[in-house]
Amino acid sequence: SKTLFFISFEPFRGGLDCATVEPLFYCSVSSDLEEKRIPLPSNSQSLQSCTVTVFILFLQIPLRSDYGYKVSLFSHLHQYSRKAPLTQQISIPATVIHPSIVRLGLQYSQGIVAGSNARSVALLHAFKQVIQDYSTPPNEELPRDLVNKLKPYISFLNQCRPLSASMGNAIKYIKKEISNIPSQCKEEEAKKKLLLCIDNYVNEKITLAAKAISKCAIDKISDGDVILVYGCSSLVNHILCEAFEKQRKFRVIVVDSRPRLEGREALRRLVKRGIRCTYVLISAVSYILPEVSKVFLGAHALLANGYVMSRVGTSQIALVAKAYNVPVLVCCETYKFCERVQTDSFVSNELDDPDDLIVTREGKTQLADWQSVKSLGLLNLVYDVTPPDFVDLVITELGMIPCTSVPVVLRVKNVDQ
């Protein structure tokens, strides 16, 4: 459990400047609150004698411990085991953390909710439950208190699985909306307003954006195309299904990679609609690429310097496609645009459970005790970044832009807000 110190300064009432100073940090999650008054030595004239009120607060979010040997290049990142969920350290029934957040955290860590859009939508759904069950404690104001209530939940979710860029933007939006609620607004009204905001956000940024992107992208798909997709991107699948409805004639090559093998799910969804598909593993991509006319990729986030952060393996596909002069189109909603800048995949990434790499065939598991082999490390990366030179076009709901225009979009978005 973390200990946080909040210090507030109150000027002595008899002093020259009697402006009341708002406490610097104000927190009302008051389960264990200890107040200590410590007189400061008065060593300056203007600061005559202040009493320092120190609030010692104990946040009860447990920390998940790292598992297994971490490859040295990535030793600054966390590596957790799926068999040790965070829920074994919190009480049943969950009281400190709202139950729908606990459920969401579990679903994240077990991979039941996976994919950038799905995670954001599930997060907003859980926040809706939290807001519905929230009631302002006496002497508190809804805007401040609700934002403070969300902080431990967000840190819990971060422990279960590191937050994605889309989730980060959604959280920023919610916090802004909550803070903007006027203080004379009644609680019921405020809650209704917030729930409506969340629904609007999902509708605008995800549902309608997907529609707009499909419309643009379908123009780029001509009859007789052979489209290559990688992994399972909900947006790319949506585009392809829509294009098929609009009677475009094309076939799809689904490229997949271990250990997640998400391409199988994409394959299932496309074949269910009736689209002709081919399925290969990423090791065969240079073999299959001469047949391909276009590559459609989904993105986890678009960084401010134009790099595309996506599932590990995407940069390789883009590289090989560039070598064969095949156009690469990245489809991404604007709410996934992120102000971070990254040029390599080492600095900030996610390490998944290394035991996923172990395969059991015919009852035999060769790497069953990989931890005892000192010179062996298993690395299960989740994301990688693709430089903008390999990406020809980014399709967003604002239109089709080159990769280098991402900072412009970000600037315009900030101005709007």
Binding site: T87, R103, I112, N117
Partner: protein
């Protein structure tokens, strides 16, 4: 609030009447603590702050008055009495407290002794949004000799056939041997959806269930279901694979449909009416599936899901037979960290108390006694030259000099006369064994408690 705990302590202990005719089952001492302490301790360690205890008036009185039964739990116990004459099953009991149930529930039986990590069961319930999540364990062979057992050990109760899928978590099939007359019948729809099924017979149902709130509402509407284990659980497991009747029809009229009497449709509708549009969207966009190889979405689109956590190692006992009771007494002391010899017991220095024996409070152990692998209850007096091996001595018993007690169970307030020699006997409550008696493999109970046939 996420889960409410419900402890079922109204059962009669019908399979060990010799022990329970005087002491109600929840109050039977195991390792010198009442049986009901073990599930309460499990719930307390998990973090529950309140438990609803459904029990009889007798037990409620005993819990609140008798000092000896100080339970030592910090949780708030909400004791609900059910009338003894009503002969209620576990599902009837849930119907009885339906007003108090506001969220999903965790039902535990009072005879469960286990050290399972509860979060394993509850995580299955949370993560998959399951309707039922239960705990099962591998059956342990009982190694202790059971007192009063004549002849070879019976084959035991009829087995349960439990079918799980290839991950070992999803429950596909559950039936008791008694219900299967000609053979095991498995529906084709199950085989089509889950081609790989493991059927296990050596499993013990720990009677620990996480149930959704909609199941309780369903029970209220369907008064014919009276037992959780016998009727509701197999029903829910079967219902996972029946065709959804209501969901094909108008989804907009879910609120009106809640009043319908149709048992089949109401459970589906009750559980699916909570699904919001956002949750649907998240499921659609998520690239996860619980199975592969066919064309259907996650969970085959089914709303009702039943999961089981099967404990591989660790203790899990259900104390509902004499054999289980004896075994549990052997094992239970490892579950709590109290010293085996109570500080208030008076033990003379010339007695030999083995390290694996438990002595209760206010006991008096005289000289030259030898106590090995046994449990001695509170306020028991053991006089000189007594040899007690492998036995369970309950509370308030007097054992006169020179006795030799081996492999036996002596119930409350019995008196064992001088020089008696008891091997593998069960002495009922308040019985007197005359001096110099020699009994082997007998059940000694009062004449008024003889078995009713």
């Amino acid at each position: 609030m996420e889960l409410q705990a419900v402890l079922m302590a109204a059962g009669g202990g019908s399979r060990m009447m010799d022990l329970t005719y005087n002491t109600p089952k929840p109050l039977l001492p195991v390792g010198n603590k009442p049986l009901i302490w073990y599930p309460l301790n499990l719930l307390e360690r998990a973090g529950f702050e309140e438990v609803m205890v459904i029990t009889t008036k007798e037990v409620q009185k005993a819990l609140s008055t008798e000092q000896r039964l100080k339970l030592d739990v910090k949780m708030k116990l909400d004791v609900v009495c059910i009338p003894e004459e009503a002969d209620m099953g576990t599902a009837d009991a849930l119907r009885h407290i339906q007003q108090k149930i506001k969220t999903d529930i965790l039902v535990v039986s009072c005879d469960l002794i286990t050290d399972v990590a509860l979060h394993e069961v509850v995580d299955l319930f949370r993560a998959h949004n399951a309707t039922l999540s239960m705990l099962m364990s591998k059956v342990h062979e009982f190694t202790e000799t059971v007192p009063g057992q004549k002849g070879k050990k019976k084959t035991g109760e009829q087995r349960d056939f439990v079918g799980v899928d290839s991950t070992g978590k999803r429950l596909l099939f559950m039936a008791n041997e008694a219900d299967l007359e000609d053979g095991l019948v498995i529906r084709k729809s199950i085989m089509r959806k889950h081609p790989k099924m493991h059927i296990k017979t050596g499993l013990l149902d720990a009677h620990l269930y996480c149930l959704k709130r909609s199941v309780v509402d369903f029970l209220v509407d369907n008064k014919s279901i009276s037992s959780l284990r016998g009727e509701l659980v197999p029903y829910l497991v079967r219902k996972q694979f029946t065709k959804a009747l209501g969901s094909q029809r108008d989804d907009e009229h879910t609120d009106q449909n809640l009043k319908r009497k149709d048992a089949n449709a109401s459970l589906e509708i009750l559980s699916s009416s909570k699904d919001e549009a956002l949750l649907q969207l998240a499921c659609e966009r998520s690239c996860w599936n619980d199975h592969r190889g066919d064309m259907s979405e996650a969970y085959h689109g089914g709303q009702l899901r039943c999961y089981a956590h099967i404990m591989e190692d660790g203790t899990c006992y259900r104390v509902n037979t004499l054999a289980a009771y004896v075994e549990a007494n052997r094992v239970a002391p490892k579950l709590f960290e109290e010293p085996p010899v109570h500080p208030s017991a008076v033990i003379s220095e010339r007695s030999l108390v083995g390290g694996d024996s438990i002595i209760g409070a206010f006991c008096q152990i005289a000289d030259k006694t030898s106590i090995k692998r046994s449990t001695i209850g509170t306020s028991t007096t053991v006089k000189e030259k007594v040899k007690v091996t492998n036995s369970i001595i309950m509370n308030g018993i007097t054992i006169e000099e020179g006795c030799n007690i081996q492999g036996s169970v002596i119930c409350n307030n019995a008196v064992i006369g001088r020089g008696a020699d008891l091997k593998y006997c069960l002495v009922g409550s308040g019985q007197r064994i005359e001096a110099e008696a020699e009994r082997t493999n007998e059940v000694i109970v009062g004449s008024d408690q003889l078995m009713e046939i």
